[in-house]
Subunit: 367 residues, 2 copies
């Protein structure tokens, strides 16, 4: 990252020979980093032109630094927010900067006494093959994690989001009904399975019959509604004969419109995402239903709690403990959708908003 | 109430002589009840034609019954919801039924061993001078209440609403900023003073300079903004230099629009009323801002909690204890706006939506 400013290229960059000559890397350490930067800010849905693949030299390690090689890169809906100029809960990615993202990385060279070569770590290296790191924010992979990639999904940020949202904010009670969309995704699949563990009726919403069948047969949802069905609101109502007590909100849009009239008194709405509206370029046409929305929250005594998972890292230990047990006992099943090659990250990411992925979306950047 | 069906009159009713002859009341007990019924459902703001004053005979007391005489009738915004056909959190008042409402009543005759003549009780007798009661839902006035009328305000439902909303749902921390509208009203005035007791900056919103001055000089708000000022949003922003951490929502409308951009991350919104929109007959024009509203709750990790005070009666003992101490110590001040005579209840009630009252609105129905 330290060489970024020298190598802002308009197309794919050529590695500067003079800078490479100045790099004091060992014989075996790589000298070139491939990375994907934000080329321009998307208008609506991201397109390939919003990304740019670059090659840049890797600077020599200083004392205390280490070189991380990305093994798995996580692709998540929140990244769309960082591509926009408008302030969100975190700063935007600046133009020509590497796209941010959580990774599982391997230490390929270390001048940091706390980390040794060959170890796998949790990192936030972003959309690139290598990153020079001081070790700040880097943690070793928990030994209870059965597969390294799980640290980016069911035992990582999406899993913790499902855990905190469902248990801490959703306060589920046996016999209640929980609804979650993107029911086969990294978050939704775990939300539904936790609901089942806690004795709730779990109703999923997913895109297409194959995902719906998987949600019911493999994940154990009581029902799953295809949001592409023209009668989605009617089907959802049928699937929730006692109304909805917990709606784990991660999509917004048409699903939210179908959920709202089914909410019971004292319903809880943990709100962690609104993927259906991330690419919107203008507000929907009127009338303005926001006052009606607040009136519904009032008369039904509903709790809405927006949350960003970084606020809840104090729950990490309990989460890893519970989740690793549930996975071992096969009470939580988990599916991944892995794309190979950094260069394919933009297309895979764009597919997130079309529901092309089936399971947690990852890019395998190296073996 | 038991004679209601016999005496549905189209104008003011004349007491039926035959029924009166059948009533076996003692020499001193009153024989005629005056009451105000819902004559028709308001379209938008209530008008005098929506109410009807009637006189009906009082039935003889049976064993276990007692006759209550209304001393004070509370007038509250929630009553507007009961006048509408649409289901709210409680059933609508039916046409030709007595308008509902909390009262402080005196027992003028009793054939119930649990209650004795002359005592004052909390009742829900509605907009009428007398009510025959079995004692169900009737409780003696708490001896710590310094004035009977306080049982309908600072030591009653509005006070409990302020207490639960501010403390339990608002979770205030010293140094934070709380905003509340209707700042000199029954609820808002208590909300602001509790915030001051807890070490917060309290900013009120009220209608006109006289109320604003009272909020600051008498109630101890740090600032109070006149919502009639064309620059209300700008003034509110100036009054909240560190943003808003707790917004106690009881009005909605233009105040809510001004509050929303000032909310801090992790803000809490106890939501107990939306008086500014109770008389709306249609949704506001577009665009539809409801998706934007949810996005704000998400990125700012805001908690919205709709609440109806009847859910929180388990907090009554702690509330009466704390509040009676605060009143005794002059840390909570309280103002009443008392209209005399049942016949003036409709006009007083209609004035609530125009901000005509200055302090808790009551009708003194008898001495």
């Amino acid at each position: 990252m330290s060489t970024r400013r020298e190598f802002i290229a308009s197309g794919s960059a050529v590695v500067g020979a003079t800078l490479l000559a100045g790099a004091a890397l060992g014989a075996e350490t790589p000298k070139v980093n491939r990375r994907i930067v934000l080329a321009k800010r998307p208008q609506g849905e991201p397109t390939p032109a919003d990304f740019r693949l670059e090659e840049v030299p890797i600077a020599a390690l200083k004392d205390g630094e280490m070189l991380l090689q990305t093994v798995y890169l996580s692709l998540d809906p929140y990244m769309r927010g960082r591509m926009s100029e408008a302030a969100s809960y975190a700063a935007s990615t600046e133009l020509d900067q590497v796209m941010i993202g959580g990774t599982v990385s391997r230490i390929v060279a270390s001048r940091n006494s706390r980390f040794k070569e060959g170890d796998l770590v949790n990192s936030f290296s972003g959309w690139q093959e290598y990153q020079v790191s001081t070790g700040m924010g880097i943690t070793p992979l928990d030994p209870r994690i059965p597969k390294p990639s799980y640290a980016l999904g069911v035992l990582g940020m999406p899993g913790l989001t499902a855990y905190v949202g469902t248990l801490d904010l959703g306060t589920p009670k046996a016999g209640e009904t929980l609804v979650v969309a993107a029911a086969t995704g990294a978050v939704g699949s775990v939300v539904g399975q936790i609901a089942k563990i806690k004795g709730l009726r779990a109703v999923g919403i997913a895109g297409g019959p194959e995902k719906c069948e998987y949600a019911v047969k493999e994940l154990g949802f009581d029902a799953c509604i295809d949001h592409r069905d023209a009668n989605m609101p009617g089907l959802l109502k049928q699937a929730c004969p006692k109304g909805i007590d917990v709606y784990f909100e991660n999509v917004g849009g048409a699903v939210w419109d179908a959920v709202l009239p089914l909410l019971n008194t004292h319903a809880r709405i943990p709100l962690c995402g609104l993927i259906a509206q991330y690419n919107a370029t203008s507000l929907p046409a009127g009338p303005d239903r926001s006052s009606q929305l607040m009136a519904t929250f009032l008369v039904k005594q509903i709790k809405v709690q927006g949350f960003i998972i970084s606020t809840y890292y104090n729950r990490q230990a309990a989460f890893i403990n519970d989740m690793s047990i549930w996975i071992r006992e096969r009470r939580i099943k988990y599916r991944e959708d892995i794309t190979k090659g950094l260069e394919n990250a933009p297309e895979a990411f764009m597919g997130l908003f079309k529901g092309n992925n089936f399971g947690k979306l990852l890019v395998q950047v190296s073996e």
